[in-house]
């Protein structure tokens, strides 16, 4: 983006990618992951939020081989290579679904709904999937 567009080159913004849908039923989860990886190329301050049915995206042991789809869980492990380490999972969403607070495919921070709301409010850009 050029300076004429009004954006100063080199500015780092806080980006939050909000994931609220279960994987494999729709393309949202995979598309979000693709965009997150693209964003890593722009040296921005990136965080990922997993809440509501989005918590199913980061569970360990997802196996979609029986439905003929590629398992993209291992891709979450690549995020660390791009210095994307701020992954937040909402505790209340886990509880509502009878899920434990461990057993994720990558290290995540489990936060309360109030904490998640605060994280959301601190962002410059929120992208929802």
């Amino acid at each position: 983006m050029s300076a004429e567009d009004g954006d100063t080159p080199g500015v780092i913004k806080r980006f939050l990618f909000v994931n609220r849908k279960a994987p494999y039923g729709t393309i949202y989860a995979l598309e979000a992951l693709e965009v997150v990886l693209i964003s890593a190329a722009f040296d921005q301050d990136v965080s990922l939020a997993f809440l509501d049915d989005g918590v199913y995206q980061v569970l360990a042991g997802n196996d979609p081989s029986g439905i003929g789809m590629k398992n993209f869980s291992p891709t979450y492990r690549a995020l660390d290579d791009y210095d994307i380490t701020k992954l937040y999972v909402e505790r209340e969403s886990l509880q509502e679904r009878g899920l434990p607070e461990d057993g994720f495919v990558v290290p995540v921070s489990v936060v309360s709904r109030a904490e998640m709301a605060a994280i959301m409010s601190q962002q410059d850009v929120v992208l929802s999937f």
Binding site: R20, D52, R113, V126
Partner: protein, 100 residues
């Protein structure tokens, strides 16, 4: 933060999920099918009435009109905006979050 919701609360829990994540200074704008939830005498209407005590709630008028909902049926305190008002709301908040 301006939160937008576009799903009917009678078909999706999105509005409830959104309202559960509001912080100081946040506003809610109902667009597309979500506008049906702003009517008085409904479960979502009660949710919005409670929400209105702490946060402004807006509804996009063209979407209301498209669905035959008169402004007189809205929960008291819900404000109608047109597309220009939508743009103004976006400029008045530091960020927008879409609850898809």
């Amino acid at each position: 933060m301006l939160h937008t919701v576009n799903k009917s609360p009678f078909a999706s829990p999105t509005l409830t999920q959104c309202v559960g994540h509001l912080t100081d200074g946040a506003a809610v704008l109902l667009i597309e099918d979500a506008v049906v939830g702003a009517t008085e005498g409904t479960a979502s209407g009660a949710l919005l009435a409670k929400c209105l005590k702490t946060h402004p709630v807006y509804v996009l008028r063209p979407d209301l009109m498209a669905r035959g909902i008169g402004e007189g049926r809205l929960v008291k305190g819900v404000q109608c905006v047109d597309y220009a008002g939508f743009v103004t709301l976006v400029t008045e908040h530091d960020a927008v979050q879409s609850w898809l």
